[in-house]
Amino acid sequence: MSDAKAVADRLAKVKRLNALLTPLKDLRKSLTAQSAAARPTGVLYGMPVAVKDNICTLEFTTSCGSRILEGYRSPYDATAVAKLKAAGALIAGKTNCDEFAMGSSTEHSAYGRVLHPFDKARVPGGSSGGSAALVAAGAVPAALGSETGGSVRQPASFCGVVGIKPTYGRVSRYGLVAFGSSLDQIGVFGRSVHDAARVVSVISGRDARDATCEDRDPLRLPTVPESLQGFVIGLPREYFPPELDPAVRRACERAVRVMKEQGAAVREVSLPHTPYAVPTYYVIAPAEASSNLARYDGVRYGPRFNGSADLRALYRSTRGQGFGPEVRRRVLVGTYVLSSGYYDAYYRRAQQMRALIAQDFRNVFDRGVDLLFTPTTPSPAFKAGEKLYDPVAMYLSDIFTVTANLAGLPAMSLPIGRVKGLPIGGQFIGQAFLEDEMLEAAYALERVVPATDEA
């Protein structure tokens, strides 16, 4: 249990990171009210949880890091937020993110970039960079993010915290602003596996308001296992390419050694369609985004930009001025791949490839592998500006994370080492709805891996 003032003070201390979008004055006022109203019997009683700005909250504005929703106040709470409140958690403000969750560095926010908490010249990853940075800086024990292609795991890896993406359909997306509807899932950051896992457990479970949310009970947390005896862990060879950063490779090899010492059986496996995952993703996600973002037209919510001449001019000027460069690019690419004459060559082709990528995972899991272990990212946190003007280079930082989104599988990143002080993340990819097995392995690895030692 932390009191409202202490929570706000901790967030005020890391203001320089630009990770929090909620003005501190509003935050203090809200936290005091929330604290008074919080139910002391809730399992997260008094736990401050920051929320990514693309998840709707009644208390605070929901801008999605975009000018087109500047000042927008949602008329309802997302189901995940309502469940957190019901469990006694305190909503500790809204976190900065890439605009509409499109980006891998949190440089594409209309409200300025987020600084990496260990090195201000670097990016915290993205798109949920604000949430990751706040947890890494010790301002909150947990935060909500969202994933479409790795937007929780990649920043978790860059910032040295735990990031969990549950199975598609595990957590209700009611109130998560839609980007790529066949990929989107709410995820959680935590200081430890347990902090993140217990938040996942609270926000998971059926919801009549989201037809894509499975009719299942909330996730039950496993107990911390004595060892990894009985676990078969697959190492997909495509995730350890020759160009992998040597320190990342060393950290992964060390984690694998540790898992073997804990009794796990480790096997090399192959997911042959992995090299096509990023191009597949960058057809499907923009296509879905171009359709989902059609609703921002200056009529129903957010500000209106010029264009009083006629309705069409209003749409065009509002969208033209309201969307930032990366969102504009993706809306255009999405419209292009869906347009007449190109649909079969790009969109249909990507859908077929997605089926093959999902089949790769089924083949491996059908042969007795329980879990996969990989690096989360090909390198540690990169410098701000390094990939900003090269969209394809930016997209490639998601190379090890997009596959789990395409296949709808649960996955998580946890810190496994450092290189020159920068965190390195290791990733587990699990089988659909078997988050409990994945968490068991993560509990066991977390206990023994030298997460803050140089690799």
Binding site: R73, Y76, Y168, P279, L311, Y315, R316, G320, Y346, A355
Partner: protein, 97 residues
């Protein structure tokens, strides 16, 4: 495959998005690179009869057929840019080709 300046304009029109004249060359160049990059999918042999993969429930669950208004804490007058007497206010329609 190269995306031309005119093609960007056509796509921007489909997407109802104003693109500034001086942003066009860079946008065309970046779209060309993105489209070139994703075009590698065309070279991979796939089975044409492959079933499309969709994560999530196998069947759509139907809700009971009853009116269930969303409990909104704020009305549209609080978040719409222009709202009057129960309507979203917009300028005249203009030309849609």
């Amino acid at each position: 495959m190269s995306v031309s300046r005119d093609e960007v304009l056509r796509i921007a029109q489909l997407a109802e998005l104003d693109v500034e004249e001086d942003a066009l060359p860079e946008l065309a160049d970046q779209m060309t690179r993105i489209i070139d990059y994703v075009a590698q999918l065309g070279a991979v042999p796939t089975n044409g009869s492959l079933k499309v993969f969709m994560p999530g429930p196998d069947a759509i669950r139907f809700r009971a057929d009853e009116v269930n208004p969303a409990p909104l804490a704020l009305g549209p007058e609080k978040f719409a840019p222009a709202f009057k007497e129960g309507f979203f206010v917009v300028p005249k329609l203009g030309q849609f080709e």
